[in-house]
Amino acid sequence: MWGENMVKVKFFGVLSAKMPEKDNEGYWITEGMGKTVRELLDSSPIKDTNIKYNIFVNNERRDPSCVLEEGDILTVIPLLAGG
């Protein structure tokens, strides 16, 4: 449920199967304010994935060290597009 300290997270493509419970817009809403992206993803279902991915916060690319703020939208895009 949406509330204080929460951020919205979405995994795409081959990572989408690992999404935890989703809201009606397809986001995983989780407590993330003050955490780095790395900390959040290391405690998420994709923590052990060997698939490479790119991270966007509010549609801008960010490093895993980026500290999340309340209401941020974290987008995780797999980098798997050969051929």
Binding site: K52, N54, R61, L79, A81, G82
Partner: protein, 615 residues
């Protein structure tokens, strides 16, 4: 405007002369380079409906600003010409250090015209151009040729793009090779070099093009290289996608008649590919990703195959499409194709076509010279040899697969899987409807590079380009949009002559490309400005197609693509509403219902100079 020399090197092979010209800065700003700039030059200089193999055709090599410093993925060049398969616009891109070297020699564009009386190769050495007799290397394969030229010029660092015997023999699926490392593979540009008696172009340059902020450019290039490498390291190259794409139903199986091939995909994809072929990454110059694979394999006959490994496309067309799960056989066929200089995508398509024509009774074993079979190494290697040489059954393909249909009979047309006479690559448009529209409208024929909606099915999209998510792959309503968006981004990479894997696998963003542009050229473009250059390039390429007589009637799908699978990742799906998807796409492009760019569209794009061409 920095980052460009604003210079064309023009070489005339008929009289062995050369000159330089100044590029129009207005169009450099509008197009940025590469495939878009090449299209403008082709449109301006080459008449409609000429024979692509005649001396009237020109072959244009075009760069962008990326080669101004060592930006990641800049070892890329684009060749633009009239192609022998479509008879109209062709662009193809290859990688290798040749591109940065051409820039260092002082040029943004190389135009080669006319025809030499005898085989030659060109050596561009900064300001000098030499025409060297190539009679002694005519007939040599691509790898031998590269080696001989390096020895003859006395410097292993000199790069030469070249053709193999297939290009000399005007095979319409002949490639241009760069140091045996990479290929401008699709559409037959190698045959155009062959038609001009041009065996190779070697280049060496020592100059630094002026850039807006040299120190800033070099710092940004270094910073991006480190980050992209950190992101991409440890990947398995393009074979990584074989298994996931097969699960989605995106892989061609049994020449587009099969539904699933789970076991086979695992046999030829990673991780088995990496283990069996003793793989090492084989990066191009300035590449932090390293998608190419070097393989070292002891073959059944005891010899060693030490060279380039097959890419995903080759695995798809020589493996899955032929139901062949023997990696060694695919690797051998790939090596032979590389040496001869032919496109493994069309090669696999032609072989599948022959096998299916045999099963349908349209070709006999006597005509083929053997009984062709699926999952058969002998069939693959025998037919590869014939097609590569255009001998025996292979001579059917002298004018591509449509030429073969004309000879065999129209009843075989339903078997052939092509658009505009270019064979479909190893992605199935029934698995991603946007890909169906993309194949139908791609100016060089069915192409997964001039638009890559297939990547959307794996989750790739561009949040910094007004996208919140990738389009749903079976959504008829967004298929036209899907093709439009992914063509625009792909076209941008082709305009900049930058390897798409920097984005797809390294995680480079369009916003960061804008930063590279600014520090190199001084141009401050938004992401929308960047994508506008793509729209212009696509419009110019379309004008070439239109002037050659193409329109909506040519934006079609092969009949097999309307047959749905029974099982697997695309079961029950086919792009049946294709006409509506095409209408949607035309509207987004600003083309009329017949697929012709309107005067208003050209005006909005700043291409007013080309409005008279519409009348």
């Amino acid at each position: 405007m920095y980052g460009y020399w604003k210079t064309i090197l023009r070489i005339n092979l008929t009289d062995h002369t050369y000159s330089t010209e100044t590029l129009d800065e207005k169009y450099l700003k509008l197009l940025l380079g590469g495939a878009a700039l090449g299209a403008k030059i082709l449109l301006d200089e080459v008449k409609p409906k000429i024979d692509p193999l005649s001396p009237e055709n020109k072959i244009i090599f075009s760069l962008g600003f990326m080669q101004s410093v060592n930006f990641p993925g800049n070892a890329k060049w684009t060749v633009v010409t009239k192609g022998p398969l479509t008879g109209s616009f062709l662009d193809s891109a290859g990688t290798g250090a040749w591109a940065p070297q051409l820039k260092k020699a002082g040029y943004d564009v190389l135009v080669v015209e006319g025809k030499s009386e005898y085989p030659v190769y060109i050596f561009i050495n900064d300001d000098k151009v030499e025409f060297r007799d190539a009679s002694s290397i005519w007939g040599k394969d691509t790898i031998e040729t590269s080696k001989i030229i390096k020895e003859e010029l006395g410097d292993k660092r000199i790069n030469a793009i070249n053709i193999g015997p297939a290009g000399e023999n005007l095979n319409p699926i002949a490639c241009i090779s760069c140091d045996g490392h990479s290929f401008a593979g699709r559409g037959g540009a190698g045959a155009i070099m062959g038609s001009k008696n041009l065996k190779a172009i070697a280049v060496w340059g020592t100059k630094q093009v002026p850039v807006a902020d040299l120190e800033g450019s070099q710092e940004l290039a270094k910073e991006l290289f480190i980050r992209l490498h950190e992101t991409a390291k440890g990947g398995g190259g393009t074979p990584d996608v074989m298994v996931p794409l097969e699960e989605l139903g995106d892989v061609p199986i049994k020449y587009w008649r099969g539904d699933v091939w789970h076991h086979g995909a695992k046999m030829i994809g990673t991780p088995r590919y990496t283990e069996l072929l003793n793989v090492k990454p084989l990066p191009c110059q300035n590449c932090p990703v390293g998608c190419h694979r070097h393989i070292n394999l002891k073959l059944k006959d005891g010899s060693i195959l030490d060279g380039n490994g097959p890419e995903y496309e080759t695995l798809g067309m020589l493996g899955a499409s032929l139901l062949l799960d023997d990696l060694e056989a695919i690797a051998v066929a790939n090596d032979r194709a590389n040496r001869s200089g032919i496109d493994t995508v069309s090669l696999g398509s032609y072989i599948g076509f022959v096998v299916e024509c045999y099963e349908a009774g349209f070709l006999s074993a006597e005509e083929i010279g053997m009984v062709p079979r699926w999952n058969d190494e002998e069939t693959l290697l025998y037919l590869e040899d014939k097609i590569s040489r255009l001998e025996g059954i292979g001579s059917l393909f002298r004018k591509g697969i449509r030429g073969a249909v004309e000879i065999i009979g129209q009843e075989s047309a339903g078997i052939a899987v092509e658009v505009k006479n270019l064979d479909l690559p190893a992605h199935d448009p029934r698995a991603v409807y946007g890909l169906a529209v993309n194949y139908a409208t791609s100016p060089r024929g069915a192409c997964h590079e001039r638009g890559n909606p297939q990547a959307s099915a794996l989750g790739l999209f561009y949040p910094d380009c007004d996208m919140d998510s990738p389009p749903e792959r079976f959504d008829e309503d967004s298929a036209g949009y899907c093709a439009y968006v992914y063509q625009n981004t792909s076209m941008l990479f082709n305009n900049l002559t930058m390897c798409k894997f920097m984005v797809n696998n390294g995680g480079l963003t369009v916003t960061e490309i804008g930063k590279e542009l600014k520090v190199s050229t001084g141009l401050d473009y938004t992401n929308r400005d960047l994508l506008k250059t793509s729209e212009r390039g696509i419009a110019l390429q379309r004008l070439i197609n239109v002037r050659d007589g193409m329109s909506r009637k040519d934006d079609t799908l092969p009949p097999k693509m309307l047959q749905a699978a029974v099982i697997g990742g695309r079961a029950g799906k086919s792009p049946a509403a294709f006409d509506k998807m095409l209408d949607d796409y035309y509207k987004l492009r600003g083309w009329d219902e017949n697929g012709i760019p309107t005067a208003k569209t050209l005006e909005d794009l700043g291409l007013e100079d080309y409005i008279p061409m519409l009348t």
